[in-house]
């Protein structure tokens, strides 16, 4: 994992500094606030009855890679849409790159890059035409457009394919092109909504290496969402979101440290008897999760021999793991992320109905 300290105030200010615009000064929160690339207070969004985002307070420092972690429907995308001015909050405030997202939309838009969860490329155009369109829309200086397009296309390994229609690209190539486009105008904050969803592990890791390398070539803050736990490990800090609220916030190491306990999982033939027997023998509550019996203990390595000695049930296999983000998620939300994802059919139907109501 990478060690990265937050940037000094000096460089942070440098990052956010820009020419003042009329009507803008009053919107910034004063000098002490400008080191935040993203700052929200009480930010909320309700869709009728559904409270998608419920009063979140958040600060992302300039230069950070910040991860938003949570199951389907947690409100991650809605939060990003509010931050990028596409959706109006129903309550609360948010500042991105120092600008208010409702009162100063254009200033926010000039300073952010976006990769949405759903594809937003024009598949009839070539890769280069898509980028050219973006450059014109963002009013980039004409003299630098060509070299900058080349630069970002080379960064994501698509320079050779620049003249191909996007419709001929694979899913991973499209994703990489979207990331390139999000970076084209050198945004101060890049929002990535599930940049790797649906990609094979190889493409996922290559996208992550681009993202990590970005900090070397660009002075940029990255705000991303994911529901892959392993990806969250790449972030400087993560926020775990569940049902519209932030339930935990910190660096991956901090969050794992706070959980403290190791996890022992075992495959057994007689689940119920094992759980009862563990409870009787050690007074520890065991649970069946994802097909294996799991318990949390302080020192897993020392506990396993005791388990073997004192327990009178057959065990097919056993493993001990240090706390992972899965455990963090479990301890804050009461379920693993996979369980939350495979939520009951009732939830599914609700989502479907909500989707239809929108039509």
């Amino acid at each position: 994992m990478k060690e990265k300290t937050l940037p000094a105030v000096d460089s942070a200010n440098n990052l956010i500094s820009r020419d003042p615009e009329p009507g803008e000064v009053s919107e910034t929160q004063g000098a002490s606030e400008t080191q935040w690339a993203v700052r929200t207070s009480n930010l909320s969004k309700a869709y009728g009855e559904i409270i998608a985002v419920n009063a979140i307070d958040l600060g992302v420092a300039a230069g950070e890679t910040f991860g938003f972690l949570g199951p389907n429907g947690a409100g991650k995308s809605t939060t990003i849409k509010m931050l990028c001015t596409l959706v109006r909050p129903t309550d609360g405030q948010a500042y991105v790159a120092g600008y208010n997202v409702t009162k100063n939309r254009d200033a926010v838009r000039r300073n952010i890059g976006l990769v949405f969860q759903e594809p937003t490329l024009d598949s009839y155009l070539s890769a280069e035409q898509n980028l050219k369109f973006h450059a014109d829309l963002y009013g980039m200086k004409r003299s630098i457009v060509a070299s900058r397009i080349r630069e970002v296309l080379e960064m994501v390994g698509l320079w050779e394919r620049r003249e191909s229609k996007v419709s001929t690209f694979s899913g991973g190539m499209k994703r990489r092109l979207e990331i390139a486009r999000g970076l084209l105008h050198s945004p101060k904050v890049l929002f990535l909504d599930e940049p790797t969803v649906g990609l094979d592990p190889q493409t996922r890791s290559s996208i992550w290496s681009y993202i990590n390398n970005l900090h070397e070539t660009e002075e940029i803050t990255i705000f991303m969402t994911t529901h892959y736990m392993d990806e969250a490990e790449y972030c400087d800090r993560i926020a775990i979101m569940d049902k519209g609220q932030i339930v935990a916030l910190g660096s991956p190491a901090e969050l794992k440290g706070a959980v403290g306990k190791d996890r022992i999982t075992m495959e057994v033939n007689e689940v119920q008897r094992t759980i009862e027997s563990i409870d009787k023998t050690f007074g520890i509550r065991a649970e069946l999760r994802e097909g294996v019996v799991s318990i949390n203990v302080e020192d897993g390595a020392r506990f396993v021999p005791r388990l073997f000695n004192e327990l009178d049930v057959p065990i097919r296999s056993i493993s001990v793991s240090r706390p992972s983000l899965d455990d963090v998620f479990l301890s804050y939300t009461g379920t693993t992320i996979r369980e939350a994802e495979s939520a009951g059919p009732a939830d599914f139907v609700k989502t479907m109905l909500a989707a239809q109501a929108r039509r």
Binding site: V87, H134, L137, K141
Partner: protein
């Protein structure tokens, strides 16, 4: 990779690219690129060009020739020539509407977001779409003009230029109409259905297929209310002005639009169409501000 590039200088720690604040120049550039995209897509979409050409050909040659049987013995005017202006208008109308329909398409397939989050005014996006549709549909008119000779329309330069100008106005008004319709529709299929539903009645009550004089009152009123009437009539009058036929015959086939006996001059008809286009585009712009 990019470390040697003059654009990004990691040593300075700042990317010198900045997105400028909103300006007139920036808006014009946005209008231009949105319009260009429509043109690129039209060029790539050969099937659309062919199908929208097929329709007028059917009208001119099948309907026109078929109806000619009725008048074979006592007519010096080819009915194909009579139908030609309506067929041209129909082709322009469908092309313009479908071009405006790209708004629905863009929303359904996500590209709209790319435009909505950009630091450009929505007005610029709508105007770009409007001009794009206008140019594309006018180009379609050029293609239909190429076969004018087959319908007995003379290839006179002044006539061609006049028709082209009138077709461009129609294209603009119809694109604006299409935009207003498209802003509220969520699926492209829905939009296609709506287009058919709107265009056909407009077309049939416009005098595209019959002369505007000696109609029963109810039909006369409907044709006078239908804005499309004022787009097709000038084209037909222009065509018939260039035919070598007696004035009395011309009066039968291209009598022009009359309001209570007053014959509406071409210039007024064109102003009506242009004004419709501007008003509709304005409505489209207003509606588009509210899109999330």
């Amino acid at each position: 990779m990019s470390s040697a590039s003059p654009v990004i200088n990691p040593a300075l720690g700042i990317a010198p690219i900045t997105v400028p604040t909103k300006s007139m120049g920036g808006s014009l550039r946005a209008v231009k690129i949105v319009m260009q995209r429509e043109l690129i897509r039209f060029r790539e979409d050969r099937i659309r060009i062919v199908t929208t050409l097929l329709q007028p050909l059917l009208y001119i040659f099948v309907t026109g020739t078929g109806l000619s049987v009725l008048t074979r013995n006592n007519s010096i005017v080819n009915l194909r020539t009579f139908i030609y202006p309506g067929a041209l208008a129909m082709s322009v109308m469908f092309t313009a509407m479908f071009s405006a329909g790209s708004i629905v398409w863009d929303r359904e397939f996500g590209f709209m977001r790319e435009m909505l989050v950009a630091p450009v005014s929505r007005t610029a996006i709508v105007i770009g779409k409007g001009l794009g549709g206008t140019v594309v549909a006018t180009f379609q008119a050029v293609i239909v003009l190429c076969v004018a000779g087959l319908a007995g329309v003379p290839y006179s330069p002044t006539l061609l230029i006049e028709i082209l100008f009138e077709a461009a106005l129609l294209a603009f008004a119809l694109t604006a109409f299409g935009i207003v319709a498209a802003v509220r529709v969520t699926t492209f299929q829905g939009f296609m259905g709506m287009t058919q539903m709107l265009i056909m009645p407009l077309f049939f009550t416009s005098g595209a297929m019959f002369p505007l004089s000696k109609l029963p009152t109810w039909l006369a009123i409907i044709t006078r209310i239908n804005p499309l009437t004022y787009a097709i009539d000038p084209i037909r009058r222009a065509v018939f002005a260039h035919l070598l036929i007696p004035a009395s015959v011309r009066e039968i086939y291209a009598p022009g639009v009359t309001w209570d006996g007053w014959r509406v001059p071409t210039i007024v008809e064109l102003v009506i169409i242009a004004a419709m286009g501007v008003v509709l585009l304005g409505i489209g712009i207003l509606q588009f501000q509210k899109v999330e």
